[in-house]
Symmetry: C2
Subunit: 199 residues, 2 copies
């Protein structure tokens, strides 16, 4: 145990995800030795982030204004909505520059293990967005894991009666990887989703 505020700092850092007691201690001593200005910058940005960041009224993405950067952009195609679990998925997809539509951030995935059901996600907001007739395709880009697949299946059933195109991102071998290191489920998906190369 350290004296007073040093232990407080280690305790607070240890509450962050992925930061164990040893890392918390290491980070605390790094901060103790760091320039006061650097530590102040971190403290300030923490305070600022809670007061300034909110979630986009339309899509649920992180935003600094009422609408997020994508929803504010008039050049984005409003007829295609890509449904993702988290804001970080938006960032990952934006990096590809492949998608010019809009997003819908669910805020997680269905997980009976963690007690997260459809009502805990932004499903209703998605349905109301889809009901205005402007959207023609919904791309489900939830994670390719158990929870993400369950969420995709649930969504596909929910959206089917609305008569719009519902697609799911392809599963398969990661580009640049070695076939022999692919797990069997991924390899199975790669077979099931194989494409013709002739003509």
């Amino acid at each position: 145990m350290y004296e007073g505020v040093v232990q407080d700092l280690i305790d607070e850092l240890g509450r962050l995800p992925g930061v164990g007691p040893k890392s918390a201690q290491r980070i605390a001593f790094h901060l103790l030795a760091a320039d006061a200005a650097d530590v102040k910058r971190l403290a300030d940005v923490l305070t600022e982030v809670k007061s300034r960041v909110r979630f986009c009224r339309i899509c649920g993405n992180v935003a600094q204004e009422e609408l997020c950067r994508v929803c504010r952009d008039p050049r984005r195609d409003p007829s295609v909505i890509c449904v993702v679990e988290e804001s970080k998925d938006v960032v990952a997809i934006e990096k590809t520059r492949e998608f010019r539509g809009r997003y819908h951030v669910l805020g997680g995935a269905i997980s009976p293990m963690e007690g997260i059901g459809p009502d805990d996600l932004r499903m209703r907001e998605l349905l109301s967005r889809l009901s205005d007739g402007q959207v023609t395709e919904t791309i489900i880009a939830t994670d390719p894991n158990l929870e993400g697949e369950a969420t995709a299946t649930y969504l596909a059933r929910l959206l089917k009666p609305m008569g719009l195109k519902v697609t799911r991102l392809a599963s398969g071998l990661p580009v640049g990887g070695d076939l022999e290191y692919a797990d069997e489920v991924t390899l199975g998906r790669a077979f099931a989703g194989r494409r013709s190369l002739d003509g």
Copy 2:
């Protein structure tokens, strides 16, 4: 890239030791979703730690007053000084409750690779503490690695002319471990330091 302050937070978190870009992002989103009060507590403790924490005038340990908790305690034996690299080593040794003397925190170890020489450590302060004639034994408890051993050797040579007892913590097999998993250097040390069991 995220909008403004979210990216700032990820950047600041990513500067902490052991926090890569992915962890920084995960921590940032954890904080975005956390209670404002929790985040404020972290921000406050960061500000406080820089204004309140200093280093003990005598031993160099972290302290909230002019002297650290150990140096303030009149029951601690002033005739034995245990020399460690960092304040976290003090905490580790205090947990054992085996040591009732005082400490001296060097602030690191000699490392030509990182450009850290004896003058960058609190060696001079140690010599002046030892020159008052009250200290009879110096226990060198630097880390059992290359830098720690180099520092121990340097210190032993430096202190030899002063005619006081200089000891080094024992190296050997960790208690509770399996002999077969011990590395060869540790096993070699365990042989070299073997003790007689009879009588």
